[in-house]
């Protein structure tokens, strides 16, 4: 055990954690918006809209995140019309490519979580709202959405933790996030176990925080 290495690598790894957290928070916010959008499309009765949303979630849940990042980072730059469009400002940066891939990925999982939450809402609640003469828009925003959010909290907490682990793939497109720095230190010092303990410890601490935060929210919004 090389404790000096563990102590000296800790600040470097902590610094890299900031990038991990940045990647995580931005892609979670964008992914949540996408997830809400696509879950609403999933419960839509129009078969084309419905199928489109299903295809989206099927593709992103059926392929590894690594493939998705590589398609966006290495693949899209090959297309001439993308390179000449304004999108290139984002797509030439590995940071934005990673965020786009993570957002689309977590969006797909989130849409599935929210869809199943919408489906578990008892039809009686919606019928009660209807029979009270409440507009269907208000039923949707004031009855269906709050219940769906509460229902999906535990599953969404898991998704946040999966996404935290997913951000480690950013290191494959040259970003120096927590895993990227850990790999760099391992490959220069050849002390994998020490670095694994420190980096893994930081990841575990973050997981612990997320887990407890979700538990707190669950308790707060329980009924």
């Amino acid at each position: 055990m090389d404790f000096d290495l563990m102590i000296s690598s800790f600040p470097k790894l902590l610094n890299a954690t900031l990038i991990t957290l940045k990647l995580l928070s931005v892609s979670l916010i964008v992914g949540l918006i996408l997830g809400i959008l696509f879950s609403i499309m999933r419960i839509n009765k129009n078969p084309i809209i419905n199928k489109f949303a299903y295809g989206y979630s099927y593709f992103f849940r059926g392929t590894p995140l690594l493939v998705q990042i590589f398609i966006i980072y290495f693949g899209l730059g090959q297309l001439e019309f993308i390179r000449s469009s304004f999108l290139w400002i984002f797509l030439k940066e590995p940071y934005w490519c990673a965020i786009i891939a993570f957002s689309l990925n977590t969006g797909a999982y989130t849409s599935e979580i929210l869809r199943s939450a919408f489906e578990t809402i008892k039809p009686g609640l919606i019928e009660a709202g209807k029979s009270l003469g409440i507009q269907s828009k208000i039923i949707f925003f004031k009855i269906q959405i709050p219940i769906a959010i509460r229902q999906s909290l535990p599953a969404y907490g898991n998704e946040i933790i999966l996404m935290l682990k997913g951000t480690s793939l950013a290191s494959t497109v040259t970003l120096m996030d927590l895993t990227g720095v850990a790999k760099y230190i391992i490959s220069t010092t050849f002390k994998p176990i020490e670095v694994f303990i420190v980096a893994g410890g930081i990841y575990l601490f973050l997981t612990f925080l997320i887990h407890n935060f979700i538990k707190f929210l669950e308790k707060k919004y329980s009924f």
């Binding site: 690594l66 493939v67 398609i71 933790i161 480690s168 290191s171 895993t179």
Partner: protein
């Protein structure tokens, strides 16, 4: 389409072999995972606090740390650990472990943590009366486990195990960082030499979709088989 031709002109045969490699790693990994689950599920369910602690550490650490980090640990630390064990027995030469073994071991340990949770959940949701009844009937322990608990556990576990299989299959793409030529690595090589990454990575995505789709079909059949009588 020329790019996918079999033989020397295209990448068809290479990608086909790479797909088989992905399948081989996934199957090896999930079997190693079952082995780990076989050890840790009883520890998790046991009444001994110390055993509980060990099993909980295993599942919490593995499920809370990125797969890629675990793979790096095995990739950089694997041969060192084996050499350390070998040196105790007086063998001091350099040992290199092949990428297939390191990779499937790393993924197997990850998949084992998920399988452990699935089996634990399945056993815990079996009706208590089943345990008591087989005790009252005086069934021997192995018969009690294999004939009473296991069939019921499998029925409850299969839907979740299919999730574990999907996770394992997708995780194998990460082994490409160690140089094992599976779908991702082969696509990377092909993309590099033809300068057509979009095509090859999209094709890799299609291959993974095909694998997940086909395995879902197969698992659905198993599910029907084990839920007979319900």
């Amino acid at each position: 389409m020329e790019l996918l031709a079999f033989g020397k002109t295209g990448w068809g045969d290479e990608l086909f072999i790479a797909t088989l490699m992905t399948l081989a790693v996934s199957i090896t990994a999930i079997l190693i995972g079952f082995l780990f689950a076989l050890i840790f599920t009883p520890l998790k369910l046991s009444k001994n606090k110390f055993f509980n602690l060990i099993a909980n550490c295993y599942t919490t650490v593995i499920r809370g740390v990125p797969e890629l980090l675990v793979i790096y640990l095995f990739f950089f630390g694997g041969s060192g650990a084996v050499m350390f064990v070998a040196s105790i027995f007086g063998y001091n030469d350099y040992i290199e472990i092949n990428a297939f073994i390191t990779g499937s071991f790393a993924i197997g340990i990850i998949s084992g943590a998920y399988s452990t949770e699935v089996f634990r959940g399945a056993i815990q949701s079996i009706d208590k009366g089943q345990f008591e009844a087989s005790k009252v009937l005086g069934l021997k322990k192995p018969i009690h486990f294999f004939k009473v608990i296991m069939p019921q556990m499998l029925r409850l576990a299969i839907p979740n195990l299919s999730n574990v299989w999907q996770i394992t299959l997708k995780d194998t793409s990460l082994i490409s960082v160690t140089g094992l030529v599976e779908i991702m690595r082969q696509s990377y090589i092909a993309a590099g030499s033809t300068r057509d990454p979009l095509f090859f990575y999209s094709f890799a995505a299609v291959l993974y979709l095909l694998l997940t789709f086909l395995s879902m079909k197969l698992i659905n059949r198993l599910e029907i088989k084990y839920s007979k009588g319900y």
